[in-house]
Symmetry: C2
Subunit: 312 residues, 2 copies
């Protein structure tokens, strides 16, 4: 994209807890958001002035074709997927979202689309490797979710050159931030600390690459507006143990004794170390990188405000 | 399937040059064929007495869902794909057929289907290995077609256990037989020999695993009626050079001097040796294996008869 060129950008999954940070970076462009509903979506920053919201059922191939032919986006950031907490790992709906993503790609290419960026996952990788690199680590997903993501990447990588589409794929590591599902790790920790209640946790020695949602959104936007092809990691390149990560919240809320490490078993995701191979904490948009420490601070602040609003 | 049990079998792609041998093996069962059209299909043997032909657009997900909910097959043999000669390797339609296959699988599982067998390809394998085994050879397709087949296999392998469906996948090597597209190797050879015209061929030292279409159909039927899961090779396990293979036709038609080896360059598919790792020339249906020699004889006979009919 040249300096003052305005892209016609379509974003799917923009109401997700990471996706909703994306439109805020795209004020210069014509932005279209597609999703089932935007009724109760709280946006972290004002939507771009030239932004349209479209109610579209992405699982209907007929709807997709008509919609894409109408909007004719030049750029597409495809974040939407089935991610119901606790259920998405093994759901057959992963196949439906894979098929829907193929329809979307095909319709986009047919309508003259130029640049397609999709959301992958660190679960595509073989986790027996100590660090995970988009260039060298083999793919070996162990769940139907990771499998669907890995195969979609491989399918679109092979198809894109023949379809005349520039294609990239961001593999998201462990995102956290405001708007996250309350049953997930950081919301549990913060909720307990703010209420002064004990939080049962696993031993917490597992090391993960946590990435603040807004930083992740920024990486996707950078990729979307560039022409770099292939897979990249949406990650910080820094490992933090779950213990260290949870303790970041202590600086802003509650008492260290509330965090009860070892009070419950680790989940299925019990690998010792899942960290991206290359530090990626730099931005080309010239915007600042927020990082884990400040990201956790913002997330705690957000929950605190939300609790105050809810109790008013 | 128990001894006298009757299955409700749906076959897609039954009008393909290999697929049309399938129904003939299923006389004991309730058989449904689905396809765009059966108008000009010449069947090599009578269709089973309990056989229904359905005109369905498999690329329409709405059509698929309604159709499967109506027929409610217990067994599904999915052979249909985009295979237009010379075009299918790199076509974006491979993505459409992948998506359609996922819709088909999902609808089948939702309707209580038990056994799903799909058609794969030897192009899924990494051809740098001397022999290709479903158990040990890595997948490394080099075309969008092979890629789509490999990814579909991986997707359905991961999804099937969670969907309660028994799943197998037959990787077809180099099929030949009657009804084959006239631009392909054996039809070209036979046509030249029957007309007494020269046939320009590559040097022909490449070794391939040629499989007679009816034998391939038989292997699919055996798999469909069994409960063995995972990938298997639809192959003979025997390598023949293109030279040897073409010369099989000489026993039944024409003059050796007509076969001009080296008169043209080899195609893209220039690997020296593509042969299945395990001999698989046995049948469990108790039916005889036809093999390359007799298969070529039958194919020559078929072309000869066709030419006579066409000239009447």
């Amino acid at each position: 994209l040249k300096a003052n060129q305005v892209a016609r950008i379509l974003i799917t999954g923009a109401s997700g807890f990471m996706g909703r940070f994306v439109p805020g970076f795209l004020d210069r462009h014509e932005v279209h958001l597609a999703g089932r509903s935007f009724d109760n979506v709280e946006w972290p920053s004002p939507l771009p002035s030239d932004c349209a919201l479209h109610r579209v059922d992405l699982l209907s191939s007929a709807d997709i074709s008509g919609f894409i032919a109408e909007v004719r986006p030049t750029h597409l950031l495809h974040l939407a997927w089935y991610v119901e907490h606790g259920k998405f790992w093994h759901s057959p709906l992963n196949l439906d979202w894979l098929a829907a993503s193929l329809h979307l790609f095909r319709a986009f290419a047919e309508a003259g689309g130029q640049r397609f960026v999709g959301a992958g996952s660190c679960t595509e990788y073989d986790w027996r490797f100590p660090t995970l690199s988009a260039d060298t680590t083999p793919l070996s997903p162990s769940t139907p979710y990771g499998n669907a993501k890995a195969r979609l990447f491989q399918l679109l990588s092979a198809a894109a050159p023949h379809a005349g589409v520039s294609f990239a794929w961001g593999r998201i590591f462990f995102p956290f931030g405001p708007f996250e599902h309350p049953d997930r790790l950081l919301p549990q920790v913060v909720a307990g600390l703010l209420r002064g209640e004990e939080v049962p946790l696993s031993e917490g020695f597992q090391v993960r690459d946590f990435i603040y949602s807004e930083d992740a959104a920024q990486m996707f936007v950078e990729s979307l507006l560039s022409d770099e092809q292939g897979a990249f990691n949406v990650a910080s390149g820094q490992g933090l143990s779950v213990r260290e990560f949870a303790r970041l919240a202590l600086r802003h809320a509650g008492d260290a004794n509330l965090l009860r490490f070892g009070a419950r078993a680790a989940g299925n995701d019990n690998a010792a170390h899942i960290v991206a191979g290359h530090p990626t904490g730099e931005t080309r948009l010239g915007l600042s990188w927020i990082g884990a420490d400040e990201g956790v601070a913002r997330t705690v602040r957000w929950w605190r405000l939300r609790n105050i609003n809810n109790s008013l």
